[in-house]
């Protein structure tokens, strides 16, 4: 407020993060609505674009697809895939995104066919539970375009972006996913992302953007591909990722939180018997049930927190 030097680094602005991990199954139908409220509260921190990752319950294999021209790209796609795969998959369109559900054994084949049939389609996520939706625009608009309130699930994370390191585009919005059922949202900026991206490319990781957060997501996926647990991957990230960050990482079973050792970027956690919630600010949490009696604290710097089902 006073323009003091630490305000610049403190995350007064520059992105908002929210996350919700449900312990109480009765709340699962409400996940999207609760997460949407939290996301919209963080509009001040990130009006450029917004995105969410929702982890549903069914154990199928899913691809979330995105197209700049959904009417053209999604029309007839299920049928075209059906003739390749032998059985027509389910395709549920939500605005510019669509979720394709296939048998687990067909996932990578289906992905290859999508790329071949519709080269302009971007694959936002793949996995058994994850669905990712992200677009340019105010969080309230993004939430209503995808009808976030109607989504149910076990856990989810969301992000409102104020762009600093790359352009305001759909692909530059968070969350980023570079591995099955994995995703990452980030508040901050990394200073060694170009170097790390080159290194990870040599290791075979693929990148869609010039965004620093995608590099962090790819780094964690790469570590986990090598056999590290999410906790171990985050610990190793403390050594290899240089910059300001608060990360919220989603996996098939849960989510993890990590702040850099300087911890300028804000973070608040709340836990009750029903849920664990994360917000860049306490404001994001005030409408959650039982928040008055919740345990509320700030995660310690350079400390990994993780919850899983």
């Amino acid at each position: 407020m006073l323009g003091l030097p630490w305000d610049v680094f403190s995350g007064v602005e520059m992105c908002g993060i929210v996350g919700l991990f449900l312990k109480d199954q009765a709340l699962e139908p409400e996940l999207g609505a609760m997460l949407g409220d939290m996301l919209i509260t963080m509009t001040d921190r990130g009006p450029d674009s917004a995105g969410i990752a929702v982890y549903g319950k069914q154990d199928a294999a899913k691809l979330t697809l995105q197209s700049a021209d959904p009417a053209q790209d999604f029309a007839g796609l299920a049928e075209a895939l059906g003739s390749k795969l032998g059985k027509t998959p389910a395709l549920v369109v939500r605005d510019t995104h669509a979720v394709l559900t296939v048998p687990k054994s067909d996932l990578s084949e289906a992905r290859d066919h999508v790329r071949e049939l519709r080269p302009n389609i971007r694959i936002m996520s793949r996995g058994e539970r994850i669905e990712i939706y992200k677009e340019v625009g105010l969080p309230s608009e993004v939430a209503s375009r995808f009808d976030l309130a109607s989504m149910s699930g076990t856990h989810g994370i969301g992000h409102t972006r104020m762009a600093t390191e790359s352009a305001v585009t759909t692909m530059g919005a968070h969350p980023f996913s570079t591995g099955a059922d994995q995703c990452l949202v980030h508040n901050g900026s990394l200073s060694n992302h170009n170097q790390l991206r080159r290194k990870l490319r040599r290791e075979g990781m693929e990148f869609e953007t010039q965004n620093d957060t995608e590099v962090a997501a790819a780094y964690l996926s790469w570590r986990m591909d090598q056999g590290a647990s999410l906790g171990d991957a985050l610990e190793q990230g403390l050594h290899d990722l240089d910059g300001f960050y608060t990360f919220l990482v989603g996996t098939k079973d849960g989510f993890g939180v990590l702040r850099d050792p300087i911890a300028c970027k804000p973070a608040v956690l709340a836990e009750t018997d029903q849920y664990v919630a994360f917000g860049s600010e306490y404001r994001a949490l005030v409408s959650l049930p039982g928040i008055e009696a919740a345990k509320v604290w700030e995660p310690e710097p350079a400390t990994v927190y993780f919850w899983s089902h």
Binding site: L2, L4, S10, V12, P266, E281, Y282, W297, P301
Partner: protein
């Protein structure tokens, strides 16, 4: 007691009302309800009134305070009581980063823990923390007193000038040019007063004092223009 519903009045409405109170106002007791983590609650006050905020606050609560006594009946977000000039700010819960930053005067009491950078660049404020403080607390502290009844994190008092730091628990590490100093009788009596004002039941003898070694660039007269 005047009660202001922040949701109904809006932030500007609340602050305008509180800032309009004069020295001789009869409306000396105020309660703010529905805080819901909002930013900049009760900033820029300049009258001897008492304000109690129900619930936790967002950024910069009680910033630039003069004369007023402001109590947060919850936890406070980043930059609480930033640049306070005088008065008293009490946080019943925890305080986020840079509590009391650049404060010129008055007293800030935090009954829970304070996170990183508590008292950064403090210029005369007295800060009493019942719990712990995080890393880089009292960074470039110039004047005033910081009392920590629990533990202090890394790099306490880095590049400190003339502020006095009192810590009862452990100090994870001292910052550049910050050293432990002798606790003389005048410090014990100063600390006793601070503890009393902060509502802490502790003996001054349980604390250690830290301050500047005065070895950095600015302390060498040969570096003056």
């Amino acid at each position: 007691m005047q009660v202001v519903d922040l949701e109904a009045e809006g932030l500007r409405g609340l602050n305008k009302t509180l800032q309009a109170q004069q020295m001789a106002t009869n409306q000396t007791a105020w309660e703010v309800v529905n805080a819901r983590g909002a930013h900049a609650i009760a900033v820029g006050l300049d009258a001897p009134i008492e304000v109690t905020v129900r619930g936790s606050t967002g950024y910069y609560c009680a910033g630039m305070n003069k004369q007023a006594k402001i109590t947060v009946d919850g936890s406070a977000g980043p930059g609480v009581a930033e640049n306070m000039m005088s008065g008293l700010v009490v946080i019943e819960g925890d305080a986020s980063q840079y509590a009391g930053a650049t404060g010129h005067g008055g007293t800030l009491v935090i009954k829970g823990n304070a996170s990183s950078r508590c008292g950064i660049s403090m210029k005369g404020i007295d800060i009493v923390v019942h719990g712990n403080v995080g890393h880089m607390s009292a960074f470039m502290a110039q004047s005033g007193n910081l009392v920590v009844c629990g533990d202090a994190g890394d790099a306490l008092g880095d590049s400190i000038y003339e502020a006095r730091l009192f810590v009862r628990g452990s100090v994870k590490s001292l910052g550049a040019d910050c050293i432990e100093k002798e606790m003389r009788p005048e410090h014990l009596s100063l600390l006793a007063d601070l503890l009393e004002r902060g509502g802490v039941d502790a003996k001054p003898e349980e604390f250690r004092r830290y301050g500047s070694a005065r070895q950095l660039y600015n302390f060498n007269i040969d570096n003056a223009y």
